[in-house]
Symmetry: C2
Subunit: 357 residues, 2 copies
Amino acid sequence: MTDVKSKLTRLGKEVLKQIEQGENPSLAVPIRSLSNVVYDEKTKLIRLGDKVSKRYFLNVAHAKRFMQTLLVAAKCKELLEENIHTSLRELFYNLKRTLPNSKENTFDDESESNPIIEDLEVMLDVLREQLHLGADPKGRVVGNITIVDSGDTIHLDKLGTGGWHIPSNVEDIKFKRVDADFVLVVEKDAIWERLNEDKFWKKHRCILISTKGQAARGARRFIRRLNTEFSLPVYVFTDSDPYGWYIYSVIKAGSMNLAYISSRLATIEAKFIGLTMSDVINYELKKWTIKATEFDLKRAKELGKYRWFKHPLWQREINLMLEKGYKAELEALAARGLRFVSQVYLPEKIKSGDFLP
Amino acid sequence: MTDVKSKLTRLGKEVLKQIEQGENPSLAVPIRSLSNVVYDEKTKLIRLGDKVSKRYFLNVAHAKRFMQTLLVAAKCKELLEENIHTSLRELFYNLKRTLPNSKENTFDDESESNPIIEDLEVMLDVLREQLHLGADPKGRVVGNITIVDSGDTIHLDKLGTGGWHIPSNVEDIKFKRVDADFVLVVEKDAIWERLNEDKFWKKHRCILISTKGQAARGARRFIRRLNTEFSLPVYVFTDSDPYGWYIYSVIKAGSMNLAYISSRLATIEAKFIGLTMSDVINYELKKWTIKATEFDLKRAKELGKYRWFKHPLWQREINLMLEKGYKAELEALAARGLRFVSQVYLPEKIKSGDFLP
């Protein structure tokens, strides 16, 4: 944390130095537009290229954003010093005011303050969570682990049917005991509740996470920390459709618009456990599939062009969907019995190591 | 639970008796359409009227739904006997099959099975949760309470920054210790995280719940149980806009489409703590308001016609919005300082008892 604070201090001191030397104060901001987003073959991550732009104070086109950058940076330093966290929206409201003797507001809309936060993340090479700014949290977790958070020792194997709500910021969480062999990430709460009721995580020694659709940043960081700090394999379990594949893709390789922090959010070792089109065939679930929409087919073709879906197994999966013209939900496994997913499907897949890369 | 099972058994036995007596088997199903929805002045709840329709087996227009009703009822009995819970979607998949020697499916779509579940709720006067069927869960809670859930003792004052995720079914939860003076329900996670970080619930002896927008059934039942079983006042804290008012309205008086179970989901004693239009004026937040849209104004007028918004204080609130033409978010309070909401605003409102009914 001191490290982040010193980065903020350094930023301010550099601007101060420029002023004292009579220079036009400027900030160097890495460019985050698509033109500077690259797929790094070596790290297998979407990341930012090397293009940087300069933001000058004495430039009519830059002045406002220059001021906004320093306002946000100063507020983040304050958050760290007071050890208080806040949301992007509250930060915006907190910083919005009218400049004296003018009709000019510091910020008119959150769409002005959010990009500044992203600028700071790349400028300082930190996560917004390290600046004490949280995104909307989503997701829940249970499993054979004990964590320490804000002084509370929390046993994630003693949380009944509810589980622990993953907060927006998991940076300061300490893992006291991790007694698990893998992490199972499911897209849907209904399946999470099924697996939790059947104590799947206890029988199969895993950590069970629900992302409730697209994974929030907190959940993605939580998954990544379990993977990198404890070398736990991560298996992602989503619907057999392009939306499910994209959820997996974001957990594994990062997203385009967060390319600048992929390396801290993504879990490149994650594997796709299902539901696959082959599962639909093998477990005779065709009757319980849903006709793919035009949008699904279009999206499937798009995803097929992503570098990390170029793998022959994924190409086969995507082509199978285009050919069959149907998709399937996780809940379709209930056609074989409500406990089929916990007692047959997942144990078989894990035992046989039948994953997509 | 035995009670629910015996209700299901009785339903089956009645049909069997009709068959044995050579009658055309039928089921009496209370009508759930708007024509049979009434506002009960005495209980102050939206509820169903007394209209009932008969569903006959030997009637081409009824036969399929008759079969569907018995299929769902039988499956629910099985769920209770096996003590297993499931979701509406899994139930649908589990029951969908093609009838032998035909092309007829038991259910083609979840939109066929969901209304049957609602039928059963009113026929048997039970909640779907008591039939072991869950809706999509949402919401989190912390506070000075200890609960017992599935054999786990959970201290809701020892859950760090995450809190307990409210599950879809809270019927079987036991409250072991409730050491609180009131329940504070907030619409937004960002505010919940602010109040949790400031340990507002500890200082002010309350139970702190986030609904994350419109409250899910599990959250509504949880709130209601705290209110009815422990006589705890419930204060609802939402944005100052028609959407926020509607969130409050649903927690307090129930919703139109769930009118048939309002009496088990609604917390009629709930009070609205804010954000009010008067707060915006009193705390000088006008600069941080948002222009109301055409839809907001239309919706405000509609809500003004609801019986429970006829109260003069609510009429004043709604008219103030129509007149000023702006709305305000909870996060706007951050303009007065990030901790203003926990250190000044809420304590002042609670101390002065400044609530809307």
